[in-house]
Amino acid sequence: MATFDYAPAPESRAVVDLQPSYGLFIGGEFVDGSGEAFKTINPATEETLAEVAEASADDVDRAVKAARAAYRGVWGRMSGADRGKYLFRIARIMQERSRELAVLETLDNGKPIKESRDVDVPLAAAHFFYHAGWADKLGYAALGPDPRPLGVVGQVIPWNFPLLMLAWKIAPALACGNTVVLKPAETTPLTALLFAQICQQADLPPGVINIVTGAGATGQAIVDHPGIDKIAFTGSTRVGKMIAREIAGTRKRATLELGGKAANIVFDDAPLDQTIEGIVNGIFFNQGQVCCAGSRLLVQESIADDVERRLKRRLATLRVGDPMDKNTDVGAINSRRQLDRITELSAAGEAEGAIRWDTDCPLPKNGFWFRPTVFTGVSQSHRIAQEEIFGPVLSVLTFRTPAEAVAKANNTPYGLSAGVWTEKGSRILWMADQLRAGVVWANTFNQFDPTSPFGGYKESGYGREGGRHGLEAYVRTGGAA
């Protein structure tokens, strides 16, 4: 061995007890769905992991009724302190079963085990711990007079962080006294179903959490159901707009967390080595399938060549492959459909004249894979600078002055997140003030914490998740009906 070859270090999948088929979780029990069962596959190998029931409109109706009964009978009238106990219990069980959750998440999603183990699962548990603490303190959260639950909440979540998005949705809803009907994405339902088992293990009263699996039609049934008081959705801007249209004129409230095209802005006085790490983490974390990914790198022209050279050198050390290997940095794309979209948009980038570069690393034969890719010479009018690619593809643009950086960063229909890299504190504050983005990271990127609100400007949606602000989405106050 002439070089340092890291031998494969695969995580064992024995810890996961995969069943051949899964039903819906309604009223505290697993029941058959009346729709046509569908398969969920491992995107890294294309092997079928399990069959999952599809919830029809009737099934969704049953779930909403169960949630309403639980809301009226138990959860809505339970004291905050008691709700908090359940949330603490769920959080602890998630920690105890963290390896199982991490392995299952990686199998179903394709993300590296390193990330599900170190990011997704611990953060999901942290969200339950955090909101457990709020459950009996809502009156002191400055939400307004007499904060009360909304009732039954319909939640539709995406496939990029299946368990974490579930936690972002369910933890505040339960803490505020609501009951839930949640639909995980059709390509990644398994950790939500394992979470349903955790709810059973925690003796959560039946009907407080209902998990209905299925695709768009199931989500539509939730949005359309008259018994739902509020919709919380994370996903594409296209679907988010559809939901907003559907519920217009109804009593339903909504929070929408949609797409993004974040600018990661690098000034010439940035701490370069850490900036390179931040750029990599910004766009290649979770294969770039992150709504707040730093997909547009705006770099000051005077250091652009140096940054590009250092970035490419760093990318050459990324390890792409088996997500179950503990040394893998970049895993599989979640689905064929997503891979096709990334492929199509990258081809468009090339056709429009941007210069394409990738790491040229070997890729596994089966499964859905896309090499970490960098486009240079990108201009604002290119599709790859405007549209959300949702993949490991970075578009590099340059700027000359802070004002130009702000203008280019804001020149997008989205406004979810942004990053600023500079050693000058005053500039960080000025930039944060100017950028129309829900989150601005300074000298870091893609950092999440349950105490910090997250959400978008413009077409990135509305409402906040996490922190004290996130509670507002799940309570009504004062005289509001």
């Binding site: 340092f4 031998a7 850490q274 790490e277 652009a304 050279r309 503990k326 040394n327 870091t444």
Partner: protein
Amino acid sequence: MSVPDTVVGTRLDPAVDATPDPLARARDLLGVSRLSDTALTRWLHALPGVDQVGAEARAASLGTRSIKAASKAWAIDLAISMIDLTTLEGADTPGKVRGLAARALNPDPADPSTPSPAAVCVYGDMVPFAREVLQGSTVRIAAVATAFPSGRASMPVKLADTRDAVANGADEIDMVIDRGAFLAGHYRQVFDQIVAVKEACRRPDGTSARLKVIMETGELVTYDNVRRASWLSMLAGGDFIKTSTGKISPAATLPVTLIMLEAVRDWREATGQQLGVKPAGGIRTSKDAIKFLVAVNEVAGPDWLDNHWFRFGASSLLGDLILQRQRLAIGAYSGADYVPDDSPGIY
């Protein structure tokens, strides 16, 4: 932005003259006619800053690499071969130094395939005793000099200390920089001292002992200082940049070593010259050593995975590496009594 013709592991601008005169080279690199404190300050303070949180996060993420099986066996042997087996105590005796040297020649009597450490590292007056045992072997003799560990002595004393060690047969000299001068911003003074010690490393036959420059990063405190001291030491002609004396805590942390690996990587890109890195102090377990090797591999690159370019300054690390090596060979832990120890505690 143009696509650069050099991407990975290649040398950027080999134009800098590799003249033996460090002062001329420094003026050339800085583009100044006089190497003043001001010129050095301008140059060192223009290096990109280090974000502490980001640097520590990167080090932590390198520490999560999982090294198994054949790779682990290879890494353990590499780590053994990179050790500067060290004893630097007031209580050192010829007997102890001879014992240490014998251990370097034959680190595991039960398994002659075990590689030898790169060097033994002792005080200058102990060099002759190490030499008795090591003469003719591949194991080098390194000596600490320049009023180690504090460096608080006048230049003539430091230079005499160095010349004495070289005359006694030291192959390598581990000097300390004047941290006081560095922290006071007297960069030219630090530069001149390194240049002078390097000159004192020269033997009558024209060859030179290799010079390791100890920055004592625990006293420099900030990562920005570590980066600046690294570049200053490289500019002045050090062959190695070394973290610590082992007498100050914290000593060789992974983030500090990461900053130094970035420095030698970027120095090679800027000048074409490859220099070595030596973390010393506080690295005691195989697990730690492997984390450092992962950092070498991924930050500086595989070119540095060689004991000519990377060393561990350590006394107890060898024992744990031997223990792990035996475990890989026989599938079970043997125990401390199966690893010879020539430097047990005496108190």
